[in-house]
Amino acid sequence: MDMQTTPLLRVDNLSIPLPAGLDRTYAVENISYELNAGEILCVVGESGSGKSMTANAIMGLLPSYLKPSDGRIVFRGRDLLAMSEPELERERGRSVAMIFQEPLSALNPLMKVGEQVAEVMLVHGEGDAASRERRVLELLDFVGLPDPASLRHAYPFRLSGGQRQRVMIAMALALEPAMLIADEPTTALDVTTQAQILELIRRIQAAKGMGVMFITHDFGVVADIADRVVVMERGLVVEQGVAADVLNRPQHPYTRRLIAAVPHREDGTSRTDAGGETLLEVKQLSKTYRSGGGLFSKARVVKAVDEVSFSLRRGETLGVVGESGSGKSTLGRCLLKLTDVDGGEIRFRGQDIVPLSPGAFRPMRRHVQMIFQDPFSSLNPRQTIGRILTDGPVANDVPLDRAQARARELLGLVGLEPSAFDRYPHEFSGGQRQRIGIARALALDPELLVADESVSALDVSVQAQVLQLLQDLQRKLDLAIIFITHDLRVAAQICDRVAVMHRGVIVECGPPAQIFDAPRHAYTRQLIAAIPGLAWNPRQAVM
């Protein structure tokens, strides 16, 4: 059979209706695309675009209340939607394999990883025990795991996130499938790990000649690995084509909007020097976590923040960048005294706040506010927005009517309707909730804002709006902002200075131009090299 002319997979006018009463009638509507053998097709879209839905339909993983109403999914000439469940079971794993976003929940925690890889072959009746064992070693080695012979006896919790994802990939490859579906496989991973996994997927795709369907929300990742791209919006395919065309000459307005929202270092527009007085000075701040350790065992000691020093002026944005476990969030929590500090000084407006008792610090809290990461858990579900915004000022002895007037004003400032005042958090989207979180922080007229991964949970277009909002507010209110993020691209876009954290230490600190163009520390170089889509400039694409 000629693979060049017959696509491996053809999705043909597929429609999946949603149950009545939701905001739209179709999860996906009349979508068509093809996947050829030996190519990587990226399906891109924001949350709720229906990008995972077709993958689930291909694997027969749709929940029982969703049934495709129209269209076909033709895999090697046969319609998967018309197949019976036993037939599908034979295809799953053997011809089509899938890897998921969260490798920890996709692996059985009570089974050794080698057994889990072998199980794939066992359920398909492949080989005998000895040949399966050989194959497991071969696969673990192939996906780049160190020392397969001993690693296969490890339980998933012993492995790092990247290693778990490699095990998942080994499982997917066990039966040499013709097609691999990867549903956001790197979203839960750190950038350096993400770069390695992307490299691995590209390598195995080339080696095995598989067709890979790669679902992602990140255009940087698309730029790195895609041969062709499908862009989805609210259940519709709005644009598809060769990667270079879609990325550099997007046609559809939605694609253009998405690409324009991709965070990217603004070149040329070096920000005017924030010339305010020094607001915050941190000297040799240390925080150590001790866990476990009783009479008979040694305590595990982690230096989360290790002698960190920096200073911040009014109107300035300092980006704190690092991977998970680098101590960047702990640093933020220390600054707000949400956790106690083991040593060092935090001088806020000249006064050291470290020795202050919680009661003595409470009146000062209004000057230092925080924007939280998760827009869903950071608002009390049982309180109205008005209550959420006025609680802070009322606790600081502002009369209720003045606090309410200010709250309505703030809703306008962050771009929400005044009617939001009497509504509850669940009525708002993630981006709107994050705006409410920002309004809450501003309600106290703070001088310093600590934003801990405040845009990480948001879709790119919403993320761009929130970043823009933060920048506008900073200019208007002369705020100092500490922006904690794992995403160097975001930090480069909005920060005046960037501090790179690694294992509790600030390894390098400087303006984005220096960090990007002349990184001094080896870790910074590694981090920058791992940024997805580094070579691609989204700004030029939508000029």
Partner: protein, 278 residues
């Protein structure tokens, strides 16, 4: 009204509500239906049920009307059930909230205190408490409350500990709200559902405990109670079955009704279970 609709999807819960309303109505109207004290003999002793239309459930060995006893007993059972549960919930929530919110030394101290109560068999302790104080309705209520708060404290502590680390609580700390205020306005409203469900089931347990105490002769001498009626009937079990069966049935269906209501509340309030019958 969506809450009531969710509740009403559970047929058992509706039946429970109907039964409990009936019991409540009888308890409220008891002095009107039976103006004479239930302790007073009003007819021939040991009349079987339906032998005399005036006493449909029969009379006991002193000629007291069983039906009147049941009606007045309902008052005692419901009163003790509700009041002792309310007291237990107040104690349990306070201790659990303090332990869960502040953690550390305070948590240790309060939880060891709770365990002290948990390790003593609840019913034995209730007997001792009632025996030390004179058995009055107040001392019985208090004794039941004292032995039934530990599970509430444990539950509330767990909820507070998990909500304590949620971002909206951290946000309340950051805007400068005081500890007690955060506990009352931020965390407590989010723990109400499990507390209400547990409390509804505790009412049933309290009614059973009161009946058991009365059965053993540790009831309030001035109040007619179902447990006392069964206790008094045990010597006549073979001669007059109705004397123990009717109060027994009354306890059974009241406790059953409350359990059904508790289960209905749980299904209606617990978002994870919503639509599981779907």
């Amino acid at each position: 009204m969506t809450f009531f609709r969710r509740y009403a999807q559970h047929y058992g819960a509706l039946v429970g509500l109907a039964i409990l309303s009936g019991v409540l109505l009888v308890a409220l109207l008891a002095p009107l239906i039976y103006p004479v004290s239930p302790w007073q003999g009003v007819g021939e002793p040991l009349l079987g049920p339906f032998e005399d239309p005036a006493f449909p459930l029969g009379t006991d060995m002193l000629g007291r009307d069983i039906a009147a006893g049941l009606a007045y007993g309902a008052r005692v059972s419901l009163l003790i059930g509700v009041v002792s549960t309310a007291v237990a919930v107040v104690i349990g929530v306070s201790i659990g909230a303090l332990a869960g919110f502040y953690g550390g030394r305070i948590d240790d101290l309060l939880m060891r205190f709770t365990e002290f109560f948990q390790t003593i068999p609840a019913f034995a302790m209730a007997i001792v408490l009632v025996a030390i104080f004179n058995p009055t309705i107040a001392s019985i209520t208090l004794a039941i409350a004292v032995v039934s708060w530990p599970p509430v404290a444990r539950l509330v502590r767990g909820e507070f500990m998990s909500l304590r680390s949620r971002e909206f609580v951290q946000a309340a700390v950051v805007v400068g709200q005081s500890g007690p205020r955060i506990m009352l306005t931020q965390i407590l409203p989010n723990t109400l559902s499990p507390i209400i469900v547990t409390a509804s089931l505790m009412v049933a347990t309290a009614i059973l405990t009161e009946s058991s105490l009365s059965f053993l002769g540790l009831g309030d001498r001035n109040m007619m109670s179902w447990g006392f009626m069964i206790g008094a009937a045990r010597t006549m079990l073979r001669e007059a079955w109705w004397m123990s069966v009717f109060p027994g049935v009354a306890i059974l269906i009241t406790v059953l009704a409350i359990n059904l209501i508790g289960e209905g509340l749980n299904d209606a309030m617990n978002p994870h279970l919503r639509g599981r019958k779907g």
